[in-house]
Symmetry: none
Subunit: 192 residues, 4 copies
C-alpha cells in the first residue's frame, strides 16, 4: 500500500507530459505506466479508463482556467481593462504551466471538437466579453463571433509560436503588444 494521493499526482504530471510530447491518442497505457513508474493496472485504481483520465484532466483544468479568467476580469472596469486582464491571464497561465496549457489547446482542437458553451469555458468567456463591448458601443459591431475569434487568434497563435520555438519565452513579455494589437484591431476608442 503506497501513497495513493502521490500516485495520482504522478499520473497527472506524467500523462500531461506524454500527451503534449506524443499526442493524446499516441500515448498508451503502457507508455504512461512506464514513464510514471507504476504498473499498468494501477491506473485503473484511480480512473475507470484512459478516456476518463483525459477527460478529467481536461475538464477540471479547463474549468479552473475559465474561473481564473473570470476572476481576472472581476475587478476591472471597461472593455480595455478587461481585455488586458484576460490577455495577461492567458500569458501568466502559459508561463506558469506550459505543459498544461499546451494540453488544453491540444485536446480542444483534437479530441473534443465541441465543448459545451457554458460559463466555465474560456472561449465562451472571451466571446461574452466581446459581445458586451459591441453592445455597449465600446467597439464597432461585427458579425457575431468574429471579434472574439480575432482576439483569440491574437493570443493563441503566439502561444503556438512559443511552443514551436518561433518566439522566445516568457509569453508574458508579449502581453502588452498583444493587448495593443487587439485594441487596434477591434477599433477600440481606448487604443491610443
Amino acid at each position: 500500500m503506497r501513497d495513493g494521493a502521490g500516485t495520482k499526482q504522478k499520473i497527472h504530471e506524467t500523462a500531461l507530459r506524454l500527451f503534449v510530447d506524443k499526442g493524446v491518442p499516441q500515448t498508451t497505457v503502457r507508455d504512461l505506466a512506464k514513464a510514471a513508474g507504476i504498473a499498468e493496472g494501477t491506473l485503473y485504481r484511480h480512473y475507470a479508463s484512459m478516456n476518463d483520465l483525459i477527460w478529467e484532466l481536461f475538464s477540471s483544468n479547463y474549468t479552473a482556467f475559465a474561473h481564473r479568467l473570470t476572476a481576472a476580469q472581476s475587478d476591472r472596469e471597461g472593455f480595455a481593462a478587461r481585455l488586458e486582464a484576460i490577455i495577461a491571464e492567458f500569458c501568466r497561465f502559459f508561463d506558469a504551466e506550459p505543459v498544461l496549457f499546451r494540453f488544453l489547446m491540444l485536446v480542444q482542437h483534437q479530441t473534443l471538437p465541441r465543448v459545451a458553451n457554458d460559463d466555465d469555458n474560456p472561449v465562451e468567456i472571451v466571446h461574452r466579453l466581446l459581445a458586451q463591448a459591441e453592445q455597449a458601443g465600446e467597439i464597432p459591431s461585427r458579425p457575431p463571433g468574429l471579434a472574439a475569434s480575432l482576439v483569440l487568434g491574437l493570443v493563441l497563435q503566439p502561444a503556438f509560436a512559443l511552443v514551436y520555438g518561433r518566439l522566445d519565452a516568457p509569453f508574458s513579455q508579449y502581453a502588452p503588444a498583444i493587448t495593443a494589437a487587439a485594441l487596434a484591431a477591434l477599433g477600440s476608442a481606448d487604443h491610443a
Copy 2:
C-alpha cells in the same frame, strides 16, 4: 487492368473526409477501405503505409497552397496589398476546399509539430512577408516572429470558428474585416 488513377483519387477524397470527421489517428485502414469502397489491401498498392498516405496528402497540398500564396502576392505592390492578397487567398482556399483546409490545419498541429521552414511552407511565407514589411519600415518592428503570429492568428482562428459553427460560411465574406483588423493591429500606415 483497372483504373488505378481513379482509385487513388477516391482514396484521397475519402481519407480527407474521414480525417477531418474522426481525426487522423482515429481513422483506421478498415474505415478508409470501407468508405472508399475498396479492399484493405488496395490501399497498399498506392501507398506504402497509412502514414505515407497522411504525409503525402499533407505535404503535397501544403506545398501547393504555399505556391498559391506566393502567386497571389506576385502581382501586388506594397505590404498592405500583399497582406490583403494573402488573406483573401486563405479565405478562397477555405471556401473552395473546406475539408482539405481543415485537414491541413489538423495535421499541422497534431501530427507534424515541426514542418521544415522552407519556401513551400505557408507559415513561412507569412513570416517572410511580415519581416520584409518591418525592414522596409511599412510597419513598426516587433520581436521576431510576433507580427507574423498575430496575422496568422487573425486568419486561422476565424477559420476554426467556421469549422466549429461559431461563424457562418463563406469565409471570404470576412476577408475585408480581417485585413483591416490586421493592418490596424500591426500599425500599418495604410490603415485608414
Copy 3:
C-alpha cells in the same frame, strides 16, 4: 505477345537466385516478378501457383541430377571406381551450377522433409551403391543406411562449407581428398 520460352527461362533463373539468397518461403511473388522484370500476373501464365514453380524446379532438377549420377557410374567397375565417379559428379554439378545445387540442398531439408525413395533420387542412389558394396563384401557391413549417410555427409558438408565461405571454390579440387576419406572411413580394401 513476348517470347514465352525466354520469360520462363528468366523466371527459372531469377527464382533459383532468390530462393537461395533469401530462402524459399521468404521469397514472394512480388520479389520474383520485380527481380525477373515481369508482371506479377505473368507468373501464372507459366505455373499454376508459386508452389508449382518450386516443385517443378526441384523435381525436374533433382531427377536430372539423379540421372547424371547413374550415368556417371555406368561405365565404372567396382565400388571404389563408382564412389569416385559419384563424388566427382557431385563436385562437378556444384561447380557448374552452384545456385541450382544450393537450391536442391535447401529444398530437400526445408520444404520437403521426405522425398520419394525411388530411382530418380540422388540420396537413394548413394544408398543403393553402399548397400551393394556391403553385400558384395567390398566394405564391411554396418547398420542399414549408416554407410550411405557417412558418405553423403563427407560430400554435402564440404559443399555447405563452400556456400558459407569456409572452403574456397572450386569444389572439384576436393574430390580426390573426399573420395580418399570416404574409402578410408568405410574400410574399403581399395584404400591404399
Copy 4:
C-alpha cells in the same frame, strides 16, 4: 499475478515442437498460441517479436551446446580422445533432446546463413579441434576447413538420417562407428 515463468517455458517447448514439425517460417503466431494454450498477445509480453523468440531460442541453446562440447573435451588428452568425446556429446544431445537438436540444425541452415565464428559456436569448436590436430601432426594437413567439414558431415548426416527415418534411434549406438570412421577418414595414427 499469474505464473510468467511457466508460460515462458510452455512457449519454448511448444515453439520448438512446431518449428521442427512444420518449419520455422511456416509456424504462425496463431499456431503457436493455440498449441501453447495462450492468447496471441501473450507471446508479446515475453518476446518482442516472433523473430526474437526464434533467435533467443536458437542462440541460447546453440551456445549452451557449445559449452557442453567444450566441457566434454576438457578432461581428454590427445586428438582421438577429444574427437570421441565430441562425437559422443553430439549423439547424447540428439538422444536427450531430439526436438531441440533438430531445431538447431534447421535454423542453422535456414534462418541464419552465417553465425558468428566465436567460441560459443559448436561448428567453430570442431574447426579448432581439427586445426590443432593438424598443427600438432596428429593428422595429415588438408586445405583449411576441409577436415572439420568432413567430421561434421560424418556426424550431422547420420543425424538427418535419424530424423528422416533412415536410421533407427538411439543415435548414440552409432557413436563408436562414426568415431572410427572419422579417425580413418582423417588418417589418424590412433585409427587401429
